[in-house]
């Protein structure tokens, strides 16, 4: 066990790192509710970038529309806060135009999988070197708690007032099926794991997805009686099953659980590299 003093010191170091990456000219506070998981994910991203030693000038953050998609605005990188669902094609333009840039997409479950679902599968298929962080809170936060493509069956939202009659997407499985070469799931309870997974995703060449399960206590939590942020984090802790353990479990046993960890990590040719080969061939570069 760390002493109180040690813990305090570690916390201070963490917040010092955070402060280095917050936009100096942006007026705070953020738009997020106190205790929202978006802030936790933001912290993990910053620490991963800091650990990798990227310069601020080489990082570009692109997002769509939603509470989660507000993140890039607060961070001291070049940021493109785009339209609902379209972060990935905008990011594709940025990355393909300037392949040396590290392009990170921040998106929500509605943004990525409903209105942006088509772009999502095609970004996976193309295997373009972009890291997408999908903050999955099972609901539309920004617009006040409507059902999303990840809202579980029977769950409540303002547009499923009698319980959701639809089936839901599993974002990580969808990404793997569509061809993403790095896929991992984590939750806002599992912060060290999240940090490490984002680091791996950023280092991975090709399309990487980190599904960060997060709490929207304001809407999903309240409508489904899951309690305050702390109660929701404990729930994530209890539902989490590490991928290695999940391998030996039946679908029935895994029903309602959150399989966490790196789910896919493979190598395939990357889109920008392959295109560059075509360009080089025209220019006689061997």
């Amino acid at each position: 066990m760390a002493t109180v003093k040690e813990t305090n010191q570690a916390e201070k170091q963490k917040s010092d790192v955070m402060l280095q990456y917050l936009r100096p000219k942006k007026k705070f506070p953020s738009v997020w509710c106190a205790g929202c998981g978006n802030g936790t994910v933001m912290g993990a991203i910053i620490r991963a970038i800091d650990k990798l030693g990227y310069s601020k000038d080489e990082v570009v953050m692109v997002s769509g529309i939603g509470c989660s998609s507000r993140m890039p605005v607060y961070l001291d990188f070049s940021s493109l806060h785009t339209t609902h669902g379209r972060a990935l094609p905008y990011a594709t333009g940025v990355k393909f135009a300037k392949p040396h840039l590290k392009v990170i997409v921040i998106t929500g479950d509605g943004d990525a999988l409903a209105i942006g679902g088509n772009h999502f599968i095609h970004a996976c298929r193309r295997n373009i070197d972009i890291t997408a962080i999908l903050i999955n809170n099972y609901i539309y936060g920004m617009t006040g708690g409507q059902g999303s493509p990840t809202t579980p069956s029977k769950a409540f939202s303002t547009t499923t007032p009698y319980g959701n009659v639809e089936k839901h997407f599993n974002p990580s499985e969808l990404a793997m099926a569509a061809g993403a070469t790095f896929v991992g799931r984590t939750t806002v309870y599992h912060v060290p794991q999240m940090e490490k997974m984002i680091t791996q995703a950023l280092e991975h060449k090709g399309f990487s997805l980190v599904e960060a399960v997060s709490n929207c206590h304001t809407y999903f939590g309240r409508l489904n009686r899951q309690g305050d942020p702390v109660a929701m984090l404990k729930m994530f802790k209890d539902l989490a099953v590490p991928a290695a353990r999940a391998k030996n479990m039946t679908p029935e046993e895994l029903e309602g659980k959150l399989v966490t960890g790196v789910l896919q990590d493979i190598e395939k040719t990357e889109f920008c590299d392959e295109y560059q080969k075509v360009v080089d061939a025209h220019r006689g570069v061997k």
């Binding site: 080489e58 339209t83 094609p89 594709t92 333009g93 393909f96 040396h100 295109y275």
Partner: protein
């Protein structure tokens, strides 16, 4: 002087050569008749010059990708037809709001909906002006020959870069799919305008700064200036604002940066307007028919001239009023149920009688039809 090489070329391909001449190095698109040859031409030509081509999953992805690429510093373009243009308009609005230069070629077909993929039309004239929601000022240009497909695409890029704004090139299927002789200009023959970049330090950079001409210097991502770009109404730093004292100046900027220089955006061609009592007013393929009709009518002693618009938006109000000042009548010819005529009616004084001839059956207006109309209004 050396004799220039001329090429037999499709209108759509001339757009590609014009774009490359203007410095286009990024194209994203989704195939759609009658614009597909633009994408195919870019797929072939861009890798040869180190440029980038990508076929996206749809037109929404295409416009998003070119805006992203432009923010990253490359001159970017897409090409489509009505159904695709309709899908693009939300994100064309994003380009207006974020002041991102891009060129969108719309090879118009009949509509609404899927309409007539292989038939010409000018029915997106108003959409190019009012297509996306909100308040903004649009620029659209329109060629009438294959050579002009090349030159108007260059002009579209120059206007986009100069004013930091999306520009639409309105083609119609007739010109896009015509084959005519084209001369590819030598380097330096046409002015190529590049966006103004900041010269200040990153600390001093105000990405949406209010400047005397309304255009803020534009850094590319990764060039050492870190800034925020958002489609939300924003202040000069690029951060969201709802403050009335910041909102209207932003919207005024979007309009005024163009309207202040609207005379410089105007391009029109007038033929036989000296002493003309009647004028045809048209753009695109209709202007070609009008020119022939006017030549024939003049031989028969009719005092008629023709005005061809190359800049459709902003509509050349003052210039049209001046040119038509001596006319008693004008005839507005369009391949739609009447769109540009609203502008002509708005602009010309009451003493000029405004007639129209419209065709929207997929065929183009012939000189004979225009002559018949002329007869009717004489």
């Amino acid at each position: 002087m050396a004799i220039k090489k001329r090429h037999l070329m499709l209108g759509n391909l001339a757009c590609v050569h014009g774009a490359i001449y203007a410095g286009m190095r990024f194209f994203a698109g989704y195939p759609i008749t009658p614009s597909t040859e633009v994408a195919e031409g870019c797929a072939r030509e861009l890798p040869k010059i180190g440029g980038k081509f990508i076929q996206m999953e749809d037109e929404i992805g295409s416009i998003a990708a070119i805006v992203g690429a432009s923010v990253a510093g490359l001159k970017s373009m897409t090409a489509t037809s009505g159904p695709g243009y309709s899908l693009m308009v939300e994100n064309i609005g994003y380009a207006y709001m974020t002041e991102t230069p891009v060129v969108v070629i719309n090879v118009q077909r009949g509509g609404p909906s899927t309409g007539m993929p292989t038939k010409g039309s000018q029915a997106d004239t108003m959409q190019a002006r009012w297509g996306t929601h909100g308040d903004y000022t649009a620029i659209a240009v329109a060629p009438s020959t294959v050579q002009e497909c090349l030159t108007e695409t260059i002009r579209a890029f120059n206007l986009a870069e100069r004013f930091r704004t999306p520009v639409t090139v309105l083609l119609d299927e007739v010109i896009a799919h015509s084959r005519e002789m084209v001369t590819i200009p030598e380097k330096g023959e046409f002015k190529v305008y590049d966006r103004v970049k900041p010269t200040c330090t990153p600390e001093e950079y105000v990405p949406f700064e209010m400047t005397p001409n309304g255009v803020s210097p534009m850094a590319g991502f990764g060039e050492g200036y870190r800034f925020n770009v958002t489609g939300l109404t924003h202040d000069t730093m690029g951060f969201t604002t709802n403050r009335p004292e910041e909102v209207s100046p932003k919207l005024d900027k979007l309009a005024n940066k163009i309207l202040k220089y609207r005379d410089e955006t105007v391009k029109m061609r007038t033929e036989m307007m000296d002493g003309a009592e009647i004028a045809f007013i048209s753009y695109g393929s209709v202007s070609r028919a009008a020119l022939q009709a006017v030549m024939l009518a003049r031989k028969a002693g009719v005092k008629v001239g023709t005005v061809q618009l190359y800049t459709i938006w902003p509509f050349p109000e003052k210039q049209l009023r001046e040119i038509c000042a001596g006319c008693k009548k004008v005839i507005v010819g369009e391949l739609n149920m009447g769109q540009m005529i609203y502008e002509v009616e708005r602009v010309l004084p009451n003493n000029i009688k405004i007639h129209s001839i419209q065709r929207y059956d997929g065929e183009f207006l012939t000189p004979m039809q225009l002559l018949e109309k002329l007869d009717e209004v004489l």
